[in-house]
Symmetry: C3
Subunit: 354 residues, 3 copies
């Protein structure tokens, strides 16, 4: 990251922020607050990291208006987004440039249509009737099944599997090993045996979605499994058949969504959260890490725990649970005193607890 150099003032202009300190400070890289060295710019968006302001070697900081900071600083309303913008500037030199064109080893069926400027790496198979848009990159060992449509400017990393009939929008990023369009998990029991329910629906992944490494999005039984525009999905996530994920959701690693469940817009699932099937999650809802959601959640609600409850309540219950030993002691003491009182008052206590 040492190949470019910017003046702090120019970076502030880029992100719409204000410089406090020397606007001529030269910035040659971007780094986390603990790793930063002289010449780097860093940022503070999470208050946890303010403590490192005193010791960081960074030459400048991106922070909010009220950040208490001795270094030259770019003050801006959304420090994390400003950091993204500055980092993007430096990242341009670092991005791998994948050779355009189709590698000679790739197997492309005659009926597949590839747009201009695509890149298809070695050992990819592109099946019958596939359409790939302009500028899309498909890397080593990926499989694109029959009739799949992939839009423009997508990036599919190595060893991705996209099964037949899947529709992928523009600017979609698929990390390595992800599987889109595997069969949904549907079996009907007849006697003791489980019989496979054919899974003849498809998956639709809309524009600007990102899908994490080794994540699985299953095809629908009939109809569609759909991930709407702008949603970001982390690694090792399970999206079952006929799930609908709304726009601009964020789904963290190892979360799982069971069949036919529907998420609204801007829903957040934290890591390892799990949702049962056939429920709806309202817009802007948040499920905490490891939250186990057993029923539908209204919009604008944060839930956590198992079974998932409104987050404030869940916290209160966990706090109360932590005080159970105390409560047992208090009840024991009450029982002792009350027994004494009873002796004195000779109250009828025949209806005792068994």
């Amino acid at each position: 990251m040492a190949t470019r150099c910017f003046k702090l003032g120019d970076l502030a202009a880029l992100v719409g922020g204000e410089v406090e300190g020397d606007a001529q400070t030269e910035i040659r890289g971007v780094a986390g607050i603990r790793e930063a060295k002289a010449g780097d710019i860093t940022f503070v968006a999470n208050p946890k990291y303010e403590e490192f302001l005193g010791t960081t070697a960074a030459s400048a900081v991106i922070g909010a208006a009220n950040l208490d900071c001795a270094q030259p600083v770019i003050r801006v309303g959304n420090p994390y987004f400003a950091y993204l913008q500055v980092l993007s500037l430096f990242a341009q030199d670092r991005a791998v440039q994948y050779a355009r064109g189709v590698h000679e080893s790739a197997v492309i069926e005659k009926t597949a249509q590839l747009g201009e400027d695509v890149a298809v790496g070695p050992f990819c198979q592109i099946a019958r009737g596939v359409r790939v848009g302009r500028g899309t990159t498909i890397l080593c060992g990926s499989f694109i099944g029959e009739g799949v449509e992939i839009g423009d400017d997508c990036l599919l990393y190595p060893n991705v599997t996209v099964r037949e009939g899947t529709i992928v929008g523009d600017r979609v990023i698929v990390q390595p090993g992800a599987v889109i369009g595997a069969d949904g998990f549907g079996f009907a029991k007849d006697g003791n045996r489980h019989h496979k329910v054919p899974q003849i629906g498809r998956v639709v992944v809309e524009d600007d979605v990102e899908i994490g490494a080794n994540t699985c999005i299953d095809r629908a039984t009939t109809g569609e499994t759909r991930v709407h525009r702008g949603t970001k999905i982390d690694n090792l996530v399970q999206v079952a058949h006929n799930v609908i994920v709304g726009e601009d959701c964020v789904i963290a690693a190892q979360a799982g969504i069971s069949g036919s469940t529907e998420l609204g817009r801007n829903v957040t699932l934290a890591g390892q959260a799990g949702l049962v099937g056939h429920i709806t999650i309202g817009d802007n809802a948040v499920v905490g890490a490891q939250g186990g959601v057993t029923k539908s959640i209204p919009a604008d609600t944060t839930v956590s725990g198992y079974p998932a409850r409104e987050h404030g309540l869940a916290r209160r219950l966990y706090a109360h649970t932590a005080r159970l030993p105390e409560l047992f002691r208090r009840v024991r003491e009450l029982e002792r005193i009350v027994a004494e009182l009873e002796k004195g008052a000779s109250v009828d206590s025949s209806a005792t607890d068994d």
Copy 2:
């Protein structure tokens, strides 16, 4: 799905059901109750979806004897299985036909034996001594290790890895990215260091098993990890070394089974359930979603929660936990009243709670 057309009466005959309404109704497709359009047949197996009977555009419904339904309906004892049968009829036209024979790019060792009518896709490697049965399909980028035996009519999707010595029965389906036969996770500590315990056992996957996308089934340390006939495993599941999974089990996505644990027949693990090692799960047991099983479970038992308890008890405990704030208030009030009573009665209360 619009290429075939059946009379409702004929479908009823196929599934052994009775038509109520016009048996001449023409059915050209199958769809979920909300997505169905005119010409489609749909089904109601889950009461949650009865509410859509009033608005669905479906031309007919598959349902139970007591389903209250204005549309022409096929009444049958097991609506979901009947739906499977009807869907299978329409699915035949949709199934991808994989070209038979071995793709020229595949690397097949000389000592490997391939049965009649196999299909091996591009970029597969089939190692020494492998035997593949008749009619089996192995798709793009899959690796079949030394000495593996795969039965008849299996379907291995792209990018599957089957390591050395694994035995796979007939009609087994392996979704993309699954890994069968990776090393079990065994390390012995000597001082501060972990030393790898060789994993020289194997995996046996019996007939009619399905293995989900990116699921991992580890080889045994010595002996076998075995998945018995008819068991269905969803995506991203972990089956550790020396685990035995009985016949006709259903293991949902992201569940995990630790080393040497044994499941009986017809066990159900819901999503994200986790089982410690070295325990046994009895026949027909059910573990709820995210259930954390810390000890053996007898047959015919449903458990849930962490630590997993009998489901009725677990529900009761969760309900009681939800009432903890109330209980704390009640105890506080008792303490107040009892203190008043003590004042009146001058009971000895020297043994107070600290």
Copy 3:
């Protein structure tokens, strides 16, 4: 495993143990206590398996000094490590020998440097500037991205993806389907949309690490995600961007570590454990299965449950929770008696619980 034969006394000498019984006993294999047949040696490290000593067909046993055992036995301080040593002896014959050299189908960029005695399987791509050390094996379908450095004597199983810039030490084992160096999951919100934060850092995997099947270790945003020497990671584990995992840790299947969290040395995460981001886990800490860690943990601490608490406390709280129905009954009974006492004493009870 029947190809070699050792005298029990020689095995005892190998592991530094003492024979009790016939040191001339011939050992031709190693097996679990239930599967062992005549000629096999087995071991007892977990007391759960002592019950099978009466029925095992094994010809000898490895056990601790106090193991009560009728068979010839090798007594040793660390039976599991002794078992590893004996098993390693027999495992030598079983290990697959991967052909050295580069398979003709592999795509190796001109600027890549491969050490002596490497093996690169079919359908691997090795990108620009990669360096691979002596004796390393890279199997079918694996992708090694630009500038990756891999040390000596590593073993990468099929379908592994190692993205650009990753550094891998010596003797690292990567099970099939693992993904090293995928983008960290970082997005900054601007209005309603999530914008991708470039992930230009790298992953460093030090010597003697093992990485499980389909496990994901994300590259850092800037700087490094690092797994220190000797750490063992099981299948389907998520290690997020900028995580630091100390030396000699053990991370069981399906565990997840969120961004920027740091583990000390010799930390154990049991299966499905989850850690939030930006916390530190002290040396020798243990997180129980499914434990949900929401804040930093000091060294030498065992935690479990959700939210994770010190294990003894967590157990106590679970036990108390199980007694909640009883506690509710006791409070109800107290209320009844106290009401009776109040009637007798006419205590002021105006301040009742609402």
